[in-house]
Structure formats: C-alpha cells, structure tokens
C-alpha cells in the first residue's frame, strides 16, 4: 500500500518535472537542455524574494514564476531563435546556456545545505496507516490540476490550439497564420513556468542544491524518451512507469539505485521501442 502512495507521489513529481521539457520539444523541436537550470533558478529566485526581501510566500512564488517565464522567453528570443533549424548548433547552444546558468549558480555562493523553502502546509495525515505530509498531498493535487489545465488549455483556447497545431506541422500552421516564432517563445515561456512550478512544489521537500538541476534534467529526459519525445500524454504515462519503478527499486534494492532506473529506462526504450510509448515519430523505423 505504501508503494501505491509513494509511487503516485513520485510519479506526479516526475510528471511535473518532465512536462516542461516535453512541451518545448513537442512544439519547437528544440531540446531544452537548460530545463534543469531553470528549475534551480526559480528555486533561488523564490528564496531570494521570501527570505532576503521578506515578500509573502505566495507572492514570491508568483513573481518567481513570471520571472522564470520571462527568462525562458528571453533565452529563446535572443539565442535559440538564431540557431533554429541547425540541429547541431541548437543542441550545443541550449546545453551551453543550461551549463552556464547552473555553474554560475554554483560559483555565486549558493552552495551547500543552507537554502530551503518552507512547505506550504505543515503537518501530515495518515492514509491506511502510512503517514503522508500535507505538502506531498498538495503536490499530487496540484500536479493533477496542472495536467488537467494543460489539456484544457491546449484543446479549448486559441493559443493552446495554435501550439498544438505547431507541434503537429509547423509549415501548415504558418500557412494558417500562426506566427511560429511567437508560438515558440510562448512555448518556451510556458515550459519554463512549468519548470518553475515544479521547483516551488518539490524543493520544499529538500534543499536547494545545484545538483538538483542535473538530476531534474536527467529525469525529465528519461521520462520524455520513455513516453515518446513530443507526446505530452506519453510523458505523463511514462512518469508513472518510471515513478513506480523507482519506488519499487528503493523498497527492494536500496535508495542508491534510483538513477540507475532512469538510465536503464532510457536504454531499454531505445533498444525495444525507440519512439517511446506514444511517440509521434513512430515513423522512426519507417521513415522515408
């Protein structure tokens, strides 16, 4: 039973981490290797607002998410847009930006275990004999709400539909009057905000360390590959698969093996079914 509960919590956490990456890749086909960096930066920005500037917690979160969205949009607008279409340069550029941000944070004095964000609600509740923090329950709730919101957004609002259109076929979207550059910026801003949201939700469960950036990047990529690069529902499903696999490994093998699960998941997916669970590039084996 505890596996079910911890598994669900872990899976929703993974889904939150991965959705930002999946969104950006699905829409503009640019792998955003700076995803982990955006995650960590939003944690630090929130911390700065909260502890150093003594702004109210909720307000700090909102401000941090807006700032992060702006940062993501700026990264796209000034750097990635110029290398759009050149696969090698795109990959190198986003990797370099991510690395620059993370290492700058590491150098800039944000070292060690002294930076934390408080949980939203103190206390815990017992479900079937297992103690679960309120905060973790909140994570699950907000996670489900985010997924639902994304689904509604992309199916019923104009911008959401435009994003889906671009994800399916950029040229066709251009012909229908959808500004692909603007949409890509929007996608990047959304993806960054999702990274920020997952950061403010998950960081209170631990400390803010730069290593978390790399971990999040690895996990997000693992989830997206297993679910199929470019498919949002696939990412959610894959998050559950990997989330439960991790919890099972922790219970039966020891908690060191969590990262191994991610690595093995990627390798197995690439060997057995390269396009992932719901990959839109199913034509990977069949393309012309």
């Amino acid at each position: 039973m505890d596996i079910l509960i911890y598994g669900t919590i872990n899976s929703i956490a993974l889904a939150l981490m991965a959705l930002g990456f999946a969104l950006v890749y699905g829409i503009s086909r640019v792998p955003n290797f700076a995803h982990g960096a955006l995650y960590v930066i939003s944690g630090f920005v929130t911390w700065t607002f909260l502890r150093a500037l003594h702004v109210h917690y909720l307000l700090s979160i909102l401000l941090a998410m807006i700032i992060i969205g702006a940062v993501g949009a700026l990264i796209y607008q000034f750097i990635l847009i110029r290398v759009r279409g050149m696969a090698i340069s795109e990959i190198i550029a986003s990797y370099a930006i991510g690395l620059a941000i993370l290492e700058a944070l590491r150098w800039g004095g944000f070292k060690g275990m002294t930076y934390t964000l408080p949980v939203f609600v103190e206390g815990s509740v017992t479900i079937s004999g297992i103690p679960v923090d309120f905060h973790r329950l909140l994570v699950v709730g907000i996670g489900v709400a985010v997924v639902a919101f994304l689904w509604l957004f992309t199916h019923y609002t104009r911008i959401g539909l435009a994003l889906r259109g671009m994800a399916q076929d950029e040229r066709a979207a251009l012909m229908l009057g959808i500004d692909s550059d603007l949409m890509a910026v929007v996608a990047m801003a959304l993806g960054s905000m999702l990274a920020g949201l997952s950061a403010v939700l998950l960081l209170p469960l631990g400390n803010i360390v730069v290593e978390a950036g790399y971990n999040v990047l690895i996990l997000a990529i693992a989830v997206c590959i297993v679910g199929g690069l470019g498919s949002w529902m696939g990412a959610v499903l894959a998050a559950f698969l990997i989330g439960f696999a991790q919890i099972l490994t922790v219970k039966y093998l020891g908690s060191h093996y969590q990262m191994v699960v991610a690595l093995l998941a990627i390798i197995f997916t690439l060997i057995l079914r390269p396009s992932g669970l719901f990959g839109q590039q199913k034509e990977l084996e069949e393309r012309v």
Partner: protein
C-alpha cells in the same frame, strides 16, 4: 609544382609540427609543461568531437564519458592487475572504445538528438552511480596509479599522439570510408539505398572517436596517478565543444588550436572555481549565435586568398 606552391602547402604544417614539438622545451616551469600535457588530452577530446559532429553528424555532449571510461580502465588494469603503463594505455584505449561503442549502440540507428541526449546523460548518471554504490573507489577514486617511466616520455607521448591523431583524421575523412561517414551525415537514406548498414558505419566512427577519448583518459590517469569521478566532470564535456567552435569547426586543426587557447586561460582562471565553465559556455554561445566561423576557418580562407594572390 613550383617551389612557391610546395612551400605554401608544407610550410604551415611544418610550422605546426615543429612548433608543437618544441613547446615543452621552451616552457618556463614544470607546471606549464604539465599544462601542455593537459592541453593535449583536451585536444584528443576536441578532435573526437569535431570528427563526430562535423563529419558524421553526431553531437557528443559528453566527452567526459570517454575520458572516464579510459581513465578508470587504465587505473584498474594498473592497480588490480599490475600492468605497466606501456600496456595499460593500449589496452584501455581499445577496450574502452569497445565499451563506449557498445553502450552507445542503442541510439545509433536513431536521429541525432538521441545521441546527444545519451552522451549527455552517461557522465552525469555514471557519476551518481559510482557515488551511490561506492564502487570503483567511490568518491575517493583509485589511488596509487603508476606514472610514466620518464618525464620526457610523459610529455612527448601525448604530444605525438595528438599530432598523429590530427593528421590521421584529416587523412581518414578523405579516404573512401571517410566519404561514407560524410555521406551518412548528409543523407543517410541514400546511404541505406546503396545497400550499406548505417548503424555499422556510425559504430565505426564512434569507435574511432571514443578510442581517442579513452587514450586521453588513460594518459590523464597516468599523469595524475589517480583516477576519480572528477574525470566525468563537465570540464571534459564542455571545453572540447568550446575549443572546436572557437578554433574552427570542421577543420580538425581548429579544435587543437582552440584547446591551446582555452586550457591555459582556464588554468589562469582556476582561482575563480566553476566560473571557468560559465566563461566557456558564454563564449560558446556567443560564437554560435553570431555565427562566427572560428579561427581556423577564417585563417584557412585568408591563407587561400594569399596563396592565389597574383601580382598584376
């Protein structure tokens, strides 16, 4: 060919070879001689990156993977099996290349993005695995690795290896099999339609590139007499990329030049800690965004212009 044309062809190569070979002799101190060795190891990585990215179309974001594999193999062969460096280096180069190729095999039939993702991931994940499972010496690493017999062998071995690799790769990309690699980058469907298995040729290219990296790793371990997870560090992943972009991508000489520029700067900046990496990354992004061609490409262009200069 006239003497003028002949000298235009051979002079830069001679200057390069002679210049590199006498470099250790003119260095002011042992510290700087060691820096030259480190430059050479980074050059091997940069050569492998340039070769893979611009002649085969695979972007390798994790040079640290090759260095770490070669390094750990050499350390194990030396400390657990007692083999001397003269044996550990060749064995770990070849064995390391085999291991790296096998580990990268699943992503070879797929599009380039997957290769970038997998090479990015391997150093990060392996670091965490080694830390968590405390194998292979854990965070302390493997100590007590033997060093080279002689200080000068240590210096010149890597130097000569870099020169051999550089000229060897330049030759390779113009051989028939090199043309197949370049064809795989340009249009792999057509290569398939010609009856050739793309995965096989990509695997050969990855083997060559990872052999270079593992060679560098093995030499590194014997120079520092220690092997640890710092070999999977980001330095080894990002500096070759920055060196290639700055030095001129696609020329196979540019990356070496880039290393000669960046590594001493990084040594000077050592006091600033990980700010170095920020520095490389920002320069890298600057070069990419402003589509700078890199020093060597610019140099080649100007050189060819002068070569064809005719007095009227």
């Amino acid at each position: 060919m006239s003497l003028r044309e002949l000298s235009y062809l051979t002079l830069p190569r001679l200057v390069l070879i002679v210049g590199i070979l006498i470099l250790p002799l003119v260095m002011p101190s042992m510290y700087w001689q060691r820096v030259i060795s480190i430059v050479c190891i980074y050059s091997l990585l940069a050569l492998s990156f340039d070769f893979l990215a611009h002649f085969v179309g695979l972007v390798s974001l994790g040079g640290a993977f090759f260095i770490g594999t070669g390094g750990y193999l050499a350390a194990i062969l030396n400390t657990s099996f007692g083999l001397p460096p003269v044996l550990t280096i060749p064995i770990s180069t070849l064995l390391g290349a085999v291991i790296c190729t096998v580990l990268l095999l699943p992503c070879l039939p797929l599009r380039g993005v997957y290769f970038a993702i997998v090479t990015l991931m391997y150093p990060l994940v392996l670091t965490r695995i080694i830390e968590a499972l405390n194998v292979l010496g854990g965070t302390d690493g493997i100590m007590g690795v033997a060093s080279f017999a002689n200080r000068w062998i240590e210096q010149y071995f890597v130097l000569v290896m870099v020169l051999v690799s550089m000229f060897g790769l330049r030759r390779l990309v113009n051989l028939d099999i090199g043309l197949v690699f370049r064809a795989v980058k340009d249009n792999d469907q057509a290569v398939k339609a010609s009856g050739m298995n793309i995965t096989y040729y990509k695997a050969i290219a990855v083997f060559i590139a990872s052999a270079l990296g593992c060679l560098g790793g093995a030499c590194l371990v014997h120079i520092y007499m220690w092997s640890g997870i710092s070999q999977f560090a980001l330095d080894f992943s990002i500096l070759p990329i920055a060196a290639t972009v700055i030095g001129g991508a696609g020329t196979l000489v540019g990356p070496v030049l880039g290393c000669f520029i960046l590594v001493p700067i990084s040594e000077l900046l050592r006091a600033f800690g990980t700010l170095r990496i920020v520095f490389y990354c920002l320069i890298l992004v600057g070069f990419i965004v402003f589509r700078s061609e890199g020093i060597m490409v610019y140099g080649q262009r100007k050189y060819h212009q002068f070569e064809r200069w005719v007095e009227i």
